[in-house]
């Protein structure tokens, strides 16, 4: 992990990560291994959601039934219903299980379509090592393309 942002500039190099994870905690484990600053959408609808004030990527697990209904958790829908938050969404990563066939990680498809943002990636359960590497590299590239490095006060990665 030597070819990534210096610790001090981490928050400015990458888009923010906002994620939902149920009590099964699969998505938490994925996000923990990414090692990037991340904000969790609370499970309890009574708790207020995270403050989102920078461009962000949403990581969302899938709860679809056999017909695809109910793929996106209600807590995530509630967050995206806020137009100001939605305006900052730059892409979505879906989580799920290939065992669900064509509906694999379909929460990612639904959010991409509803919010008109790119579906960046899909991974299974808590993700494997190659998923972590690909998503980290992808998010860093995305941060550069979005010009997020210039918004901060520290220089970003020296990686070509």
């Amino acid at each position: 992990m030597s070819d990534v942002c210096p610790e001090a500039s981490l928050p400015t190099c990458f888009p923010d990560i906002v994620y939902y994870s149920s009590t099964s905690e699969n998505t938490v484990r994925f996000v923990d291994r990414l090692g990037l600053p991340a904000k969790r959408i609370p499970i309890s609808p009574k708790e207020t959601g995270p403050v989102i004030d920078r461009p962000f990527v949403l990581i969302c697990p899938t709860y679809a039934d056999g017909e695809g209904r109910g793929a996106v958790p209600k807590q995530v829908i509630r967050l995206l219903n806020d137009p100001d938050t939605r305006a900052l969404l730059r892409g979505v990563i879906g989580a799920g299980n290939r065992n669900f066939g064509t509906l694999f990680a379909s929460a990612g498809d639904v959010i991409a379509r509803k919010c008109n943002v790119p579906l960046l990636y899909k991974f299974e359960l808590a993700g494997f090592d190659n998923d972590i590497a690909r998503v980290r590299a992808g998010l860093e590239k995305m941060g550069r393309n979005l010009g997020l490095a210039q918004m901060g006060d520290a220089p970003c990665s020296t990686m070509a």
Partner: protein, 323 residues
Amino acid sequence: MKDMTDLRIPRAINWNRLEDDKDLEVWNRLTVNFWLPEKVPLSNDIPSWATLKDFEKTLTIRVFTGLTLLDTIQNTVGAPSLMPDAVTPHEEAVLTNVAFMEAVHARSYSSIFSTLCSTKEVDEAFRWSEENPHLQAKARAILETYAPGNDPLKRKIASVFLESFLFYSGFYLPMYWSSRAKLTNTADLIRLIIRDEAVHGYYIGYKFQRGLEKLPEAEQQALKDYAYSLLFELYEIENQYTEELYDEIGLTEDVKTFLHYNANKALQNLGFEALFPPEVSEVNAAILAALSPDSENHDFFSGSGSSYVIGKAVATEDEDWDF
């Protein structure tokens, strides 16, 4: 005569007062996903079946009798053995659904047989399954763990390994046929089973984690060690079973990769880290495409610009969306 004071009358189940929201979530998922084999037009596979060579037919029937045995175990012993350990009445109710669906799965293989095969072929394959030492060894390893009086969390570990790992040496074959446009209706039926097993493995693994987190650290570590050692034991058996079945058709190495991939997923269902590195667990793209059609490539980061493909026909209607 039994002392009547031993009789424990269960409390009537109140689904409007949940102790664990996951119970209702999974109950809803399983009941909505309910299906029967009659839903799948298996007879459309008769012409395709006729194109298989004799040894390919024998392999396919044997694989399905092996799967039938695992489903039978989970139906009559595995899922019922988890019920006395349930920590909520709703968990117990969910497990009755799990048990019944395993009976549907076991029944489905007989529907495939009666549609495609002769009675003689099927009887021979069932005899093979009763005598095959590797199949019997994995059944025994799981059943020992399920025995009454054993540790409830060890039972859950074994159950997750059955649901999320042991089936896959068998599931590989219909996915392989499907990738070659053979037995595609049979593959549709198997995909329904694969979908159910994912929910079962997820739920039992989830309940395992809730039980595990209540234990002191030393006991947690001991159970983790137990899980990895049981996985190794089962993995050894699976390797031999795989070689015996798939050497002739030349697919053994490909099946083993599929086993590694599913072993990793089984461990993740238990909340543990994956064991097999990407080099030996990256499944061949044709098999992944057979598992989840239309969604082979999900690395849109590596593509240029914002070109991305949205999966077909995903339901975006949900009353909670405001836009």
